[in-house]
């Protein structure tokens, strides 16, 4: 099962990185979302895909110790990661939206106000 999952994770990464490399902000944003999923699945798989039983204990403490459940640790990590990557995505989206309003382009090669193409040598005085 892990082998198949690895293949899927690979596809996630490939698509995300390909989108990152394009010139339009909106495609990069799509890439951000997918990259988040790719990393989450990577963590999830490396914690082993064992059980279909969720990590929720039942009964008394003694019985709970004997239970075999899915690995809870990666789940806790991923839960945090999902929320963070969502807020990151939302922030980037609004940033792109505002940049588009101000600069009237979503092509990253045309967004060169901070680093103009033909930058002049800084003044040599003191």
């Amino acid at each position: 099962m892990e082998a198949l999952m690895t293949l899927l994770v690979g596809i996630f990464f490939a698509i995300a990185i390909y989108l990152f490399l394009s010139r339009h902000i909106i495609r990069i944003l799509l890439g951000v979302t997918i990259l988040g999923n790719a990393v989450n699945l990577l963590i999830f798989t490396s914690g082993r895909l064992t059980q279909e039983i969720p990590p929720i204990l039942s009964g008394n403490a003694a019985a709970a110790r004997q239970m075999v459940t899915a690995n809870p640790l990666p789940q806790a990590l991923i839960l945090t990661a999902i929320v963070i990557s969502f807020s990151f995505f939302a922030f980037l989206l609004v940033l792109a939206y505002r940049a588009y309003q101000e600069l009237e382009t979503d092509d990253i090669e045309e967004m060169r106000f901070a680093e103009p193409e033909n930058q002049q040598l800084p003044p040599l005085g003191y």
Partner: protein, 787 residues
């Protein structure tokens, strides 16, 4: 008594910094008269250090301190012996006069309060420097003097010349400070000692160490930059851009002597080697001659004095390097004499400037009647500078010749250097003290007048001090010269020289110097034009070299920045992902850690496979989508597929969160994209796409291999088991994931909430803050408007 002493000293060391805090307030209240109050600070400190004088003259030292960073064995500790004490007295004594003088000189200046602050901060730093015991503290104060010097030189920050001079001083002395730091750390490493006092007492064989040469060069790098030795002397004359009190205080009496202090301090451990006794006199002697020759060609009083300061520092380095007991005694005498007469002469130059409105000797003359007090102070200081009785400079000069007059070619050469240097300094001293005052009064100077008491007090007191210390030479030697010489030499030294001349070689050499000086004084105008023509023909000096150096650095950093910071996000992304792929793949291949070929699972649950295929389809259609809606829907498909995968493999919490987040993402994205009328399609040429595909597949392969390898190594369940076992018994929660989030790793979750909140705030402000139409981004264009 002994137990209370250290804490008083500690407070005295901090006092100037506190005073610096209050200086602007006091200045606002009392205007320039705040000088009288602020001068109390150095006076108090002077009194405090005077209290040590008898104790130290008996050969004791005052030490104390606190542990600063115990983990690194770094202390805040002080060590006051004869050398430190003399410096401390000079710093505080002249400091008091300078504070008063500043009040008169910058009377009515809008930033006078700030100036007082800087001067007091410098005073504190310099005092810390000469009393430091621990290396690190020494270095910190050393750099603090560079920084305060930078602030003071650039005080008149509206002029480019002073900005340049300030930067130059900072680059040269700050750079030297780094050499010094390396040198001190090397000493620390070699000997294991991080305190001056222990180093001096250890009698360590540093001069036999294989690292001696490295230590020597590094320490010299610090000392020579700070004390302006040729060819690094150029920053000192430029520092004359500072207001005159600064030139008098930092750039003649105290800070520039820090390098000499360092050499004197380390003389017992680093001195007495062939390298030391060759290199120091060589550089010192060259600096002495070059400095005086350059001084001759100047016409500005301050610049003439500045170049003679360079040569005096050269003389001090030469004497310190010569190394004999007498030479050290001479260096000590000359150092004290120089601080007094040169500080006074600088203040005189400022007074002349203040009274007559110019510092150009060619335009000055006949001021004696208008400025009698100034003239008296000037002539007294010039006599001391020329080494004539009855002033302290005479003692120094006699001792110099007594020390250098030894058999051998090398001492003879140094004696000649000293005669030429002293003779020319004799000339400069009298040019500064006589030319502006004697002769017919120039027309333009009819309004010239004597300065107020704040201005002439300093030079008069210093001139009287020159006289007093010479008249009561036995007391001076007992309290100052002998203890300081002993500290520098590392063995007890007794000074005896007095004003009563002894018939002998030194007196004859002095006479030769005076004759040479008088001869040169009569020819000074011709000498000046000769030097001027000579320097014109050379046409290049270290000063121009500095400009070329700085311009070169700016150009280089501009080019480097253009290469590594091209401004193209596409390039950055390419580089990042290529490096990601390489960092994972290269070590794997190099250390033969590639994963084994995975076995195909025997039984695949069909719906698992189906969901994976759906996810893949969603992914590919995001890339290939022709219109906005398809892209958004496809993004939703892959997200929901991930949620289902979480569900299938026992992670319902993740699944719920993922469903919610994906839904929100799709909704927001739809809102934004429909408003913006953006197309998700890619319009790039095919070859660029192929390169991108190659990079993304390479990086993805790297991640796949990494994951495969991870699942093939044995699983370490320690943490997971811990959470599973103790979730119910310790944290009383059955849902282990939740327990981890809110209990075991609660602080992490708290941080995560903070991140979400910050992102929310940022989004809110991005939406609400809008540039007004008139000042759109174009107005922020750095190329136009003020840069």
């Amino acid at each position: 008594m002994q137990s209370t002493m250290p804490s008083t000293t500690f407070m005295v060391l901090l006092l100037p910094f506190f005073a610096a805090l209050f200086a602007p307030v006091l200045t606002r209240l009392f205007k320039h008269n705040a000088a009288w109050i602020l001068a109390l600070v150095p006076v108090l400190m002077f009194a405090h250090f005077c209290g040590f004088a008898t104790q130290i003259s008996e050969g004791e030292v005052v030490t104390g301190g606190y542990r600063w960073i115990p983990a690194f064995n770094v202390n805040f500790s002080w060590y006051i012996d004869g050398l430190s004490l003399t410096f401390a007295l000079l710093i505080t004594g002249i400091g008091a006069l300078i504070v008063l003088y500043s009040g008169g000189y910058l009377k009515g200046h809008a930033q006078l309060g700030r100036f007082f602050s800087f001067i007091l901060m410098f005073m504190g730093s310099m005092l810390g420097l000469v009393t430091s015991d621990s290396f690190l503290m020494f270095f910190v104060f050393w750099e603090l003097t560079s920084i305060t010097s930078f602030l003071l030189i650039g005080f008149d920050n509206k002029r480019e010349a002073s900005r340049r001079a300030a930067l130059q001083a900072l680059v040269v002395t700050g750079g030297g400070g780094l050499f010094l730091l390396a040198g001190l750390l090397l000493i620390w490493n070699v000997t294991g000692i991080s305190e001056m006092s222990l180093l001096l007492r250890s009698g360590s064989g540093l001069s036999d160490s294989p690292y001696y040469l490295a230590i020597f060069i590094l320490v010299l790098g610090g000392a020579f930059t700070k004390s302006a030795q040729f060819p690094l002397h150029f920053w000192l004359p430029n520092a004359m851009e500072a207001p005159t009190p600064v030139s008098a205080y930092l750039h003649s009496a105290t800070m520039v002597k820090a390098g000499v202090y360092l050499l004197m301090r380390l003389n017992p451990v680093l001195g007495d080697t062939v390298v030391w006794q060759t290199v120091l006199p060589l550089f010192g002697g060259t600096t002495l001659i070059v400095g005086t020759l350059l001084a001759i060609r100047q016409t500005d009083l301050k610049l003439m004095l500045a170049y003679t300061t360079v040569s005096s520092l050269g003389l001090l380095v030469m004497l310190t390097g010569f190394g004999s007991e007498k030479a050290i005694e001479a260096a000590v005498l000359y150092l004290v004499a120089h601080s007094m007469f040169k500080g006074a002469l600088f203040m005189v130059a400022g007074l002349v400037d203040h009274g007559a409105g110019t510092r150009d000797v060619r335009r000055l003359g006949g001021l004696m009647a208008a400025m009698p007090i100034t003239f008296a102070a000037a002539i007294a200081s010039a006599i001391s500078m020329a080494g004539l009785p009855p002033f302290f400079g005479f003692l120094a000069k006699e001792e110099i010749y007594a020390a250098l007059w030894e058999p051998g070619a090398w001492p003879l050469l140094l004696t000649l250097v000293a005669i030429v240097g002293n003779g020319l300094m004799f000339v400069i001293g009298f040019v500064v003290a006589l030319k502006p005052f004697l002769g017919p009064r120039k027309q333009a100077l009819s309004h010239a007048h004597e300065g107020p008491v704040l201005l002439w007090l300093g030079p008069v007191v210093l001139a009287l001090a020159s006289l007093g210390t010479a008249l009561f030479s036995s007391l001076t030697h007992h309290l100052i010269t002998s203890p300081m010489s002993s500290a520098v030499a590392g063995t007890p030294v007794e000074a005896h020289i007095s004003l009563i001349p002894h018939i002998g070689m030194p007196l004859l050499l002095s006479a030769i110097t005076v004759v040479f000086g008088i001869f040169a004084y009569r020819q000074v105008d011709r000498l000046r034009s000769t030097m001027f023509r000579l320097l014109e023909t050379i046409g290049w000096g270290p000063d121009q070299g500095f400009d070329q150096f700085i311009r070169g650095i700016v150009r280089l950093s501009f080019r480097v920045t253009r290469i590594i910071h091209s401004g193209s996000l596409e390039t950055y992304m390419k580089i990042i992902f290529i490096l990601v792929a390489l960092t994972i793949l290269v070590p794997m291949v190099m250390f033969d850690e590639l994963p084994n070929l995975p076995k195909m699972p025997e039984s695949i649950v069909r719906y698992d496979l189906a969901i994976m295929i759906i996810a893949a389809i969603g992914l590919f259609s995001v890339v290939l989508a022709k219109d906005r809606l398809t892209a958004i829907v496809s993004l939703g498909i892959q997200g929901f597929a991930v949620a289902l995968i979480f569900m299938l493999f026992g992670a319902p919490d993740l699944s719920f969160t993922q469903f919610m987040v994906e839904t929100l993402s799709v909704v927001i994205l739809a809102l934004v994209m429909t408003r913006l009328k953006l197309t998700p399609t890619d319009h790039r040429p095919l070859h660029e796409k192929i390169i991108d595909i190659f990079i993304s597949v390479a990086a993805a392969t790297a991640f796949m291999l990494l994951l495969l390898k991870t699942v093939q190594v044995p699983f370490d369940p320690t943490l997971s088991d811990f959470f599973t076992r103790f979730s119910l018994s310790i944290a009383h929660g059955a849902n282990i994931v939740n327990v981890i989030l809110v209990d075991f790793r609660g602080t992490d979750t708290w941080g995560e909430i903070a991140v979400v909140m910050v992102a929310g705030l940022a989004i809110l402000s991005l939406i609400r803050i809008r540039a007004r139409p008139a000042e759109k981004i174009a107005a922020n264009d750095p190329t136009d408007g003020e840069g």
